[in-house]
């Protein structure tokens, strides 16, 4: 048996050092996003890394990541603390505790790292950055949902992500379809639906099997899916849902067109369910062929207050900065100049004003580093080598 590996370079599984240029890339992306969100009135908030377990994992957005949350005992209060595993949960808490009715609607933006006890199959990192926006309204509001969708797409576009797909869903729709299914068959059916497994769906006898298969065949196409949903609504009480998503997709496409956003596809997949457990009315996932996995997701959800019957509506999205960072094409800083020992601060300032990154030489170390393409000699920009 081997002993403990004491190599100081080894980090715990799922944790990594971000070095240049990746660390700067992420910081710059966050800045770009925050600027964009601010232009729509979303102001930045910064909740703490640690909260009491019961406020972090309160009913609503917090519950979803309950099993992914690191917990420690607080030696001061002797209560359990949770290290945040998702920022939306914290935003929901902020709304219920720090804002008044008069602040409505509240627009907030955030960016921060979250910590998970285990990675997923596709994201093995246990620490990654989430950046996003939330808007809180008194009642369900289509315009707020549209704003969130548009903003998420504009955020990705600002980060130069191509061929974005926004995949809409109706949270809870699968539950409605499978309401009459025998409890014993439900897990297998849900799994078959999650995998779009036609054979698996056919093997279970339930009322809406044909409809589920038809929805799969729609392939996300908005018009086909709406037509199919229209047919289903003759058998099932889903008229309101259909009207809502119909109206929603129309408004969204119109908004994107008006704002001049191109190169974006909108699709509808009402069979999408996992990860949207706390959402209602609308949910969405963002994809691009540039990277594997999801770039972000969002939707509408309830923000529950301590007072009974008091509920507000949250609309928001989160972008996964680790996934997004895989789309970056890094180029070397082209304009880097070496200023040998003795070059005045004034000269350095004027070089910087011309856009140069200046590396100063020291009396004891006066050699230009490899990353510099030029040297400042006798008041001249001189190429190296």
């Amino acid at each position: 048996m081997t002993g403990i590996n004491n190599n100081p370079a080894l980090l715990p599984k799922g944790f990594a050092d971000l070095l240049p240029p990746e660390a700067e890339g992420e910081a710059r992306s966050i800045l770009t996003l925050m600027k964009l969100f601010k232009a729509f009135g979303y102001e930045r908030v910064k909740p703490p890394l640690v909260e009491f377990e019961d406020s972090l994992i309160a009913p609503g957005p917090g519950v979803r990541h309950s099993t992914d949350t690191f917990r420690v005992m607080d030696p001061l209060s002797h209560r359990m603390l949770g290290l945040r595993s998702d920022m939306t949960a914290q935003i929901a808490r902020l709304v219920t505790t720090r804002f008044d009715e008069s602040d409505m609607p509240i627009r907030m933006a955030y960016a921060g790292d979250v910590l998970r006890t285990k990675g997923s199959q596709l994201r093995t990192s246990r620490q990654f950055c989430q950046a996003g926006c939330e808007i809180i309204t008194n009642k369900s509001d289509v315009d707020a949902d549209i704003e969130i969708c548009v903003l998420s797409i504009m955020g990705l576009k600002a980060l130069d992500i191509k061929e974005i797909t926004l995949d809409l869903n109706i949270p809870g729709f699968v539950d409605m379809l499978t309401k009459d299914v025998d409890e014993d068959d439900k897990p297998a059916l849900n799994e078959a639906i999650d995998r779009r497994d036609q054979a698996g769906i056919k093997s279970i006898n339930f009322k809406y099997a044909d409809e589920v298969l038809q929805l799969i065949a729609c392939n996300g196409d908005v018009d086909q899916t709406l037509k199919c949903l229209g047919k289903i609504s003759k058998k099932m009480k889903i008229k309101d849902h259909v009207a809502h998503i119909d109206n929603f997709s129309r408004k969204l496409r119109q908004a994107l067109e008006d704002y001049g956003v191109s190169d974006v596809s909108v699709s509808i997949d009402v069979l999408e369910q996992s990860g949207f457990e706390y959402h209602n009315t609308i949910g969405f996932t963002l994809f691009s062929p540039q990277v594997r996995g999801e770039l972000g997701r969002g939707g509408a959800y309830d923000v529950c207050f301590k007072e009974e019957n008091k509920v507000r509506k949250g609309h928001g999205f989160t972008l996964y900065m680790d996934t997004i960072s895989r789309t970056y094409a890094y180029t070397r800083d082209q304009k880097k100049i070496f200023a040998p020992y003795g070059v005045s601060w004034g000269e350095i300032k004027s070089l910087q004003e011309d856009g140069w990154t200046v590396i100063r030489g020291f009396e004891t170390n006066n050699k230009p580093p490899q990353s510099c393409s030029h040297t400042w000699i006798d008041g001249q920009i001189t190429p190296i080598g």
Binding site: N219, S267, D269, G293
Partner: protein, 218 residues
């Protein structure tokens, strides 16, 4: 990152490949000649479609390539899908080939003598540790899996374990090693699988291929 415009179809090496060739033909997918040459060192092959390449990898790796988006389409046994349960894989079609079952087998001696229903903990040799553990934990039995990559059937006789979980088609290998099948865990057949992101971002191309395979099995 550049966008890979070609679609990649991942196919499993070995036994299934023979059964698969007629299906590919019906879908009008004709790989380059090297593909049929088992000794070829090539791993990636052109087809008669400019935008479709084939890779030939181990069955377990088909699922991994598709889940991580290295390949957009693949063909793999339902046993492998159950073992990994990748959330990023859709498995729209049962191709009805490569049929067999995944079963628990036990030595003839144990089958005759031991009351296995009283066991709380068992050691099992298998290629499918996740699936095996899930199966037995439902029955309240804790499993300790010895991961082997082949020749499971010899493990009980050499004292590694008392049970194995493996694919069974005719049962003759079990018989030859003094084992008997005591429980079927699942039926197995080959599935067409697709990557979830690819399905969302390139729906039309992906649907064309799914439909082609669907027609080929009807």
């Amino acid at each position: 990152m550049t966008l890979e415009k070609k679609l990649i179809l991942a196919l499993p090496k070995g036994r299934i490949l023979e059964e698969l060739m007629p299906l590919l033909e019906k879908c009008n997918i004709i790989p380059e000649n090297d593909f049929k040459d088992e000794n070829s060192r090539k791993l990636r092959f052109n087809t008669n479609h400019g935008n479709l390449d084939i890779i030939r990898v181990r069955a377990f790796d088909v699922a991994t390539f598709v889940a991580h988006g290295g390949a957009q389409i693949g063909i793999v046994g339902s046993d492998v899908l159950e073992e990994f349960q990748y959330s990023e894989i859709y498995s729209p079609l049962d191709l009805g080939i490569g049929k067999c079952r995944l079963s628990v087998a036990i030595t003839n001696e144990d089958a005759d003598n031991a009351d296995t229903s009283k066991w709380s903990h068992i050691r099992i040799a298998t290629k499918y540790p996740n699936l095996t553990e899930r199966h037995f934990s439902k029955q309240g039995i804790q499993t300790e899996c010895v991961k082997l990559n082949g020749a499971m059937e010899i493990a009980p006789a050499l004292g590694l374990v008392r049970r194995i979980v493996d694919l069974v088609s005719t049962g003759s290998t079990l018989k030859a090693n003094n084992l008997q099948e005591v429980e079927k865990i699942m039926g197995v057949s080959s599935r067409l699988i697709v990557n979830r992101s690819a399905m969302k971002t390139r729906p039309k191309e992906m649907r064309t291929w799914i439909d082609a395979f669907q027609k080929s099995v009807e």
